[in-house]
């Protein structure tokens, strides 16, 4: 049985090489990156929707969430979203809803104050 990391670990501020870097296609970096789950949630609302489509269907989001943040359950929710094959602003909305719900849930589980 795998042990889930603590909410504080999932919500931590990441190192440069752990951050999520937003691209719109192969090798085309937007200049936007997220150093934490909180920042990732914010960037979903403002990044070019092409970037969201590119990363969702390359499975980059779920890999980063599972491997870097260590949140397997959350990664499964993203995988589920991918299977619905949504695109455009509907994708932005649904992705934001999934991420913000998980973010609030993790924040609620924190037994101490998170410095944001």
């Amino acid at each position: 049985m795998s042990v889930s990391p603590s909410p504080s670990r999932i919500l931590r501020n990441l190192l440069r090489n752990e951050a999520f870097y937003f691209f719109t296609s192969i090798g085309n970096y937007t200049g936007q990156h997220a150093d934490s789950l909180r920042e990732f949630m914010q960037k979903i609302g403002e990044i070019d929707v092409k970037s969201l489509e590119f990363h969702l269907y390359r499975e980059d989001f779920e890999k980063w969430i599972a491997q870097t943040l260590g949140d397997a359950r959350f990664a499964a929710e993203i995988r589920n979203l991918r299977s619905r094959k949504v695109a455009g602003n509907l994708l932005r909305e649904q992705l934001y809803n999934v991420v913000s719900r998980r973010y609030r849930e993790l924040r609620g589980k924190m037994s101490f104050k998170v410095i944001t």
């Binding site: 951050a19 937007t30 990156h33």
Partner: protein, 171 residues
């Protein structure tokens, strides 16, 4: 060859030797001497001096990767940078084996242009995402993947407009 400060002035014979070496660096001093009408010892002396002075930087083999079963893609990666970090980023890029050539360039913005090779598009993307994008001072990146190569040659001696042979040529 005459040394002038930090540079060397080559004469017509030096340029002709370089031209022949660029065509085939494995040919003998005797053959080069025969083609140019000079003794093989003269050719030897000239080449040794150009090697010692660093004019001839190295000899190498050009490998046809397809013939040895290695598939690869080439891309030109333009990295837009914070001007203060441009030199550091270019030096860092030059350290990666995937980067074959790297230049700083200026048009409307200061950019770094790098020629990058990778096994496939997935590997190219991973390299850029994991090794270039996280470097401090990288603002954004544009990548053009090469679809077909029409020419690839190193600097040819015939391009030197200062050589006596080129000056005498009608263009």
């Amino acid at each position: 060859m005459k040394i002038k400060g930090r540079s060397a002035a080559l004469d017509d014979l030096d340029w002709r030797i370089l031209e022949l070496l660029q065509e085939n660096a494995k040919q003998t001093y005797t053959k080069i001497g025969h083609l140019l009408g000079v003794a093989h010892s003269t050719v030897y002396d000239r080449i040794k001096r150009m090697e010692e002075y660093g004019i001839i930087k190295k000899y190498g083999a050009v490998i046809d990767l397809e013939k040895v079963g290695i598939k690869s893609i080439t891309a030109f990666v333009t990295v837009y940078t914070d001007p203060k970090e441009s030199g550091n980023i270019a030096e860092k890029l030059a350290e990666f084996n995937e980067v074959l050539e790297a230049f700083t360039s200026f048009s409307e913005e200061l950019v770094i242009i790098a020629k990058v090779v990778a096994g496939d598009q997935g590997q190219l993307h991973s390299f850029i995402a994991q090794s270039i994008a996280p470097l401090p001072g990288v603002l954004r990146i544009r990548t053009s993947i090469v679809t077909r190569k029409y020419k690839e040659e190193p600097f040819r001696t015939g391009l030197n407009y200062n050589s006596p042979r080129k000056r005498g040529r009608r263009v």
